[in-house]
Subunit: 217 residues, 2 copies
DNA sequence: GTCTATACGCAGATAGAC
DNA sequence: GTCTATCTGCGTATAGAC
């Protein structure tokens, strides 16, 4: 919040993010980060209390965005239109500024993030987002489609191997595939076109969300 | 191959696989594995030359299966039918025996596997498999769909949260979603139904496979 | 086949000078 | 705000006894 230094804190974040993503959080030592910046390990400890606080520092921003998104989705009806806007906004957030780097960091460090509080929080948000994407259709297939929708946005960054493709094209293709998946999720709890069938409705649990959210949106 | 010991080698593999998956490869120490088995670290080194050789030992089997699968796919025409059988056989392999554990290990240790030879080999095979799933349709959207098809099989294990679902149901749902994705991939290089449009064909690279494979299939 | 003992290095983290 | 110096502990791996 209050950095009066010449951006050293930001430089540490940038280098750490890069190394954590390339070789993994566990495998990257503070010594390595310090060497890249031509400073000592002790200098790092002036800016951050610990190694995992470096992670938290660049995750905060993303957490905030996701919270806003989830809150918005909960205030909307569970229709295809809502879901399309939801995934579209999610893609916007992921493709904006330097978020792609943070996105890749998360993909590449899923396991390490299990022991980091920032990681657990992000996991929680991703689950909520997936839940919102299939709210109203509790079938297993819908859950899978919802998850794949998020994967579509994420993997558009590495799964598409084209030499001169722009970020905008990646985004558009991701949303094209995502929309197809979303279209197969039932829009209303009472389905009126039994062509797809309800599959195995194992048992409705009413409030799988977690918090009851009593505060205003 | 030739274990005359009372299965100690297998017990090490099992415990290592479990811990590597739960807490990550880097974070799991040989001391921890040894303690779980009530042996010493030195005992581990009798059975395996190094830590990463433990990984290789339980990856070998999976590599062989995937090689067979890829080889088969290459000998077949690039049609929807081929792709459906391919993903179905892949699912069979993934759901068979204790392969789900190995599958989860890979998902959870993507980054660590970049510095392990076994990991690099698996990455290579996954890429080849994805390539086969969209051979004949080099559009970015097809590449994304092919990758998501594989994700569908993988994520059916954790994305579907249902209390009493069987492995067979998971497999069926994964293939249901996978088939939808595959249906949108063009079956022939010369598309004759322009309803979907050619998207942004950025530039055809004839042999994006890597090896020219001159040997017989 | 498994043990004890140990080598050697690097990890994260702190104290206190400048 | 950055440094030098240092602490403490654990990491992988090896030697050699039983």
């Amino acid at each position: 919040m209050s950095q009066s230094t010449g951006g050293t804190r930001e430089r540490i974040q940038a280098v750490a993010l890069e190394l954590f993503t390339e070789q993994g959080y566990e495998k990257t030592s503070l010594r390595e980060i310090a060497e890249r910046l031509n400073v000592t390990k002790a200098a790092l400890y002036y800016h951050f209390k610990s190694k995992d606080e470096i992670v938290s520092s660049f995750v905060e921003d993303r957490l905030r965005r996701m919270d806003e998104l989830i809150e918005w989705a909960r205030s909307q009806p569970a229709t295809l239109a809502t879901r399309r806007i939801l995934i579209s906004r999610y893609a916007d957030a992921m493709f904006a500024t330097q978020q792609p780097s943070v996105m890749r960091f998360f993909e590449q460090n899923q396991t390490a993030l299990k022991s980091l509080s920032a990681g657990l929080q992000m996991r929680d948000r991703m689950m909520s987002l997936a839940n919102e994407l299939c709210r109203g259709d509790e079938s297993p297939a819908a859950q899978l489609r919802a998850a794949l929708t998020l994967f579509a946005v994420h993997s558009s960054w590495f799964a598409v191997r084209a030499p001169d493709i722009t970020d905008d094209e990646r985004r558009r293709i991701a949303l094209e595939v995502a929309d197809e998946l979303l279209a197969k999720i039932a829009s209303e709890p009472t389905v009126d076109h039994p062509a797809r069938g309800p599959l195995t409705r194992t048992g409705e649990q009413p409030g799988a969300d977690g918090q009851p959210r009593s505060d205003a949106a």
